[in-house]
Subunit: 138 residues, 2 copies
DNA sequence: CTTGAACCTCTAGTCACTAGAGATCGTATA
DNA sequence: TATACGATCTCTAGTGACTAGAGGTTCAAG
């Protein structure tokens, strides 16, 4: 049995975040000492590791709640879990695509500016003002 | 002179968002009719287009405020604006890198699941539970 | 038994909006 | 000129996933 601070150290999840997860129903309510402090065991550690890993992968709290439910009712959960993972993959790919477009435009904008500080008109500001200079729609 | 709804249509920025930008100091306080409704002109339209474009590129409200200040004090603003754009580019690239790592892992997780629904243990859930299965740190 | 770090709960703040209530305004039509 | 009704106004509160701080209590070492 260890304290919330100990759990925090082991999982790299901040103490207030652990309490927040409990409040959101991601973590079961922890056992308490006589003095009302939370105590955790191996199970709690594993579940929090699972949550942290899923959060790192960009799953929302809501999606994680679904995954946890699936864990508790393992019949045919594989398909359901896979569909959650797949939809996460789809949104990650969409984000990458969008960011790459942004990268391209930012490169273009930066290139126009030679950094000499001599030019009267700033190309960065002009680019942002005049959408007509863009390659793409957004 | 046109209404906030008209401005919204032309810029594709929602009406409450325009009011929010005004409150945040991104847009100057608009002129008002006798009946207290906002009225805009070409200047307002251009500034809002600038803001929308910058937001689309992922600049924060704060960064946009800096850019607007630079516009109002154009002496040597090019370097400053360029440095804001460059730091934006750096963070966009960092996000892309991170998302690509996530994509890789999600692909790996999904591949493990054959979707047949036959397997007792779900590879998706196992992958999320056991960090040791990951290729990388996160 | 004392000290002080760690813990507790509660409220409020973050960012960039979005939603809704309830009241007023502007304009097209009768 | 009267009426209808969509657009506008202000204000408050909600979103997601935390983070920060106040003010008080508990635990464990010395």
């Amino acid at each position: 049995m260890f304290s919330i601070g100990e759990l925090s150290k082991r999982t790299k999840v901040k103490v207030p975040t652990i309490r927040y997860y409990e409040e959101m129903g991601l973590l079961a309510e922890a056992e308490r000492t006589a003095g009302n402090q939370r105590r955790y065991d191996k199970d709690g550690l594993e579940r929090l590791s699972f949550i942290r890993h899923a959060r790192d992968l960009g799953f929302s709290i809501e999606a994680i709640l679904s995954l946890i439910e699936l864990q508790d009712h393992p019949d045919r959960s594989c398909e359901a879990a896979n569909s959650i993972a797949t939809s996460q993959l789809v949104s990650v790919r969409a984000k990458i695509k969008q960011l790459k477009a942004l990268e391209k435009e930012l490169v273009r904008i930066s290139k126009g500016c030679d950094g000499s500080g001599v030019s009267e008109d700033c190309y960065v500001l002009a680019s942002l003002s005049d959408h007509g200079l863009c390659d793409r729609e957004h």
